[in-house]
């Protein structure tokens, strides 16, 4: 969907993006991860031409972006930024209607589509539409920012630290909501963040950058279990164990779990096998009984399987050893 080829951006003598080549596949979420100044935001802005290329090419949906007017290019992409960037002099309704008005939609179409989007985001139209941004909480503003990006149903959404301005608690709950928004699932998303956990929670693939260069581009599992170089290893070190639990799904553990059939277990909890190990452990520990068993609800042909937290941890250890080899 988006192809970057040997993309380079210089600010004066400063090399902000250095020969970056990557593809974003249709429907996936690619996270640009790195510390501030690593070139991730600049890379994002090159895609919608808020910054202009120094060298290389970028194609979106098969068209070279240099052959399009920047404004028209941008109207085909949603753009969500830190703190939402809502217009303080517009109501929520007017804020959401900005892009449709730029696209000269009819009033009826804008209204209908606004309600649709707000429904998708589970925002109460009646309550929010007449309000001004300063009357909303940070989380609410961010939701409106998202609605504004989604209203024209663009195939591509670019997000620059979308949850960066929120407090940690709100950030986690909004992130969870975000993951479950049906309307977003089929969009091609590029998300910039410096938050490792956020990257691994939301990303299908992660592009870890440093000093303008790609250090590693791969799936979350690849980054955790096959770090490409010392930088990647050091970058993930602090949260490595949590990341491992997060990127592994229950189904990956099947071969390493005792073959206990759930039918023999009293009051077991059922969890789908696509769930991350981290999530499963959190659910089990939340019940307060560490010996509690859970059931891996098979979505595939494999039979259901039961395990305790201790079983899961032992299985992770074995699997990790295998993957590292």
């Amino acid at each position: 969907m988006i192809r970057l080829r040997n993309v380079t951006k210089k600010f004066g003598s400063l090399l902000a993006v250095d020969d970056v080549t990557l593809d974003v596949k249709e429907g996936e979420t690619l996270v640009l991860l790195g510390t501030s100044g690593c070139g991730k935001t600049t890379t994002l802005k090159l895609i919608n031409r808020l910054e202009e290329l120094t060298a290389g090419t970028i194609e979106v949906a098969g068209t070279d972006i240099q052959h399009q007017k920047p404004e028209e290019l941008r109207r085909q992409m949603g753009y969500v930024i830190q703190g939402a960037g809502l217009f303080p002099h517009y109501t929520v309704q007017e804020n959401i209607a900005v892009v449709p008005r730029l696209l000269h939609w009819s009033k009826e179409k804008i209204e209908a589509r606004t309600r649709e989007v707000l429904d998708l985001l589970r925002i109460s139209a009646q309550q929010y539409l007449p309000k001004y941004p300063h009357e909303l909480s940070g989380g609410q503003q961010q939701r409106v920012g998202l609605a504004r990006a989604l209203i024209s149903d663009p195939p591509v959404i670019l997000m620059d630290e979308p949850f960066g301005a929120l407090d940690p608690f709100t950030r986690i709950s909004i992130r969870r909501e975000f993951k479950n928004i049906e309307a977003l699932r089929h969009k091609t998303k590029v998300l910039v963040t410096h938050d490792v956990l956020e990257a691994f929670e939301l990303g299908d693939r992660i592009c870890l950058m440093d000093d303008g260069k790609i250090q590693q581009l791969g799936t979350t599992q690849e980054l955790v279990f096959r770090p490409a170089n010392g930088f990647v290893m050091r970058f993930l070190q602090d949260q490595l164990f949590q990341l491992q639990l997060q990127v592994l799904q229950l189904q990956h553990l099947r071969p390493y779990l005792p073959a206990v059939s759930p039918s023999n277990i009293h009051n077991a909890i059922a969890i789908p096998e696509m769930e991350s190990v981290l999530e499963a452990i959190q659910i089990l520990t939340a019940t307060g009984a560490p010996q509690q068993c859970l059931t891996l609800n098979a979505t595939t042909a494999a039979p259901a399987q039961a395990a305790t937290v201790a079983d899961l941890m032992a299985a992770v250890e074995q699997l990790t050893l295998t993957l590292r080899k």
């Binding site: 028209e72 217009f87 670019l158």
Partner: protein, 519 residues
Amino acid sequence: MTNVLDLWDFLQLQADTLLEQTLEHISLTFISLALAILIGLPVGLLITRYKRGVGPTFGITGVLQTIPSIALLGFLIPVLGIGPKPAIFALFLYSLLPIIRNAFTGVTQVDAKVKEAARGMGMTDWQLLTRVELPLALPVLFAGIRTAAVLNVGVATLAAYIAAGGLGEFIFGGIALNNTPMILAGAIPAALLAVGIDFLLARLQHLRLPLLRPTALLLFLALPLLSSFYLLPNRSGFQAGLSPEFAGRDDGYPGLKETYGLDLNTVIMAPALVYKAVYEGDVDVIDGYSTDGKIKTYSLRVLEDDQNSFPPYHAALLVREPVLLRHPELREVLEMLSGTINDSTMTALNYQVDFDKAAPAAVAQAFLKQQGLWRPSQNGTGETIQLGSKIFTEQYILTEMLSQLIRGYTNLQVSARTGLGGTKICFDALTAGEIDIYPEYTGTGLQVILNTPQTVVDRLSKENEKVYQYVADRFQEQYNIIWLPPLGFNNTYALMMREEQAAKLNIRSISDLKNHLNP
């Protein structure tokens, strides 16, 4: 208390004029403000896009702000003439800075995140400006307009300097005539106007954003309407430019009206600017002083006051009687000057010092030589005679002549104490014996020193001889001071025209002028 009553009387008497001046004032303020918005706003917005223009723009407008208003008006006369045009242009220049600066500041201070979001959503630069930056900059922009408006109300009083009317006419007229109610009649409405406009615009500025947008638009549309109070008067026919003092004093223009039945189409201007205005042809006749060096600089013709409307201000030497008694030879020497200097001669001498930058001593010597009066100094050893003078060119030159004559013809020594301020200081110094001789004017002796009752003045003032005799008698009687025979010139009010035009119309006297205008 009496002042309050005087003010009330004045306001009742001048209500029509006051209303007219207030409307003129409002119009001047708002026309120039509208122009400044029309030009300043786009410039301010443009330099947010072309940052290289920021420095030069603020540099130029900043410098404009520092030009003293009277100087600026002087520069504008040759280009725009007099009347509302240069006044509006000057006000326009003064209000540019706050408007440009606030437009620029307002737009640049809009949150960078908001601008980024706007561009990221696909707004063109124009859409970004009109839909996001401008609405968000409105409060700051408005503050700039408010500053400019209040500033303009104040500066617009200066419009009276170049015949553009407004409340400044009362203010400057009042100052010139030492008439407090008149000053207040102009100053109080001007202050109220400033406070009122400030208050109204402040209310607008603090309106919530959604209301502000339509209001700003409305106000902008209303500006031309507010401005239209002022129908730009076209210059019609023969025009007189008078200084406020001359226009108001009984022995000035009102006296001319009475004596000659002269009815001029007048505008009021700053004394400093009338000469320039007549020279540039913006007006045709002005008032001034009959021996002013500028008469020569600007090639003007002084119209003869053939019916003696202006009080005589004949110059003569005042000498303490005891000095004359001790040194009888002195009188003879001093009287050598009597009748030798006529108006145009004095004007020419003043011109040489004021505009050719010649030293008063050299000018005096050249004149005496030309008259065949000059003799080298005898380096006398006798008593020292103290000469005095007021602070202006004419008196310096006269003092030089006296000292050269006394040194050349007598054994006396001379010491000059020039620059003794005004009439009162000179005269007090003379009566106290600090000085022995100084040049004075008959009209000043009559009105200022003797404080002669108006009835006596009225009886005397038309005839030079009688005035001279009257002051000479009184001075000798009361102060033991002798008026020597007049020097010959009369430094009084005068009407003047461009020489060229006066010659063409064959106007020599005020009667000629009257006949030309109202045959």
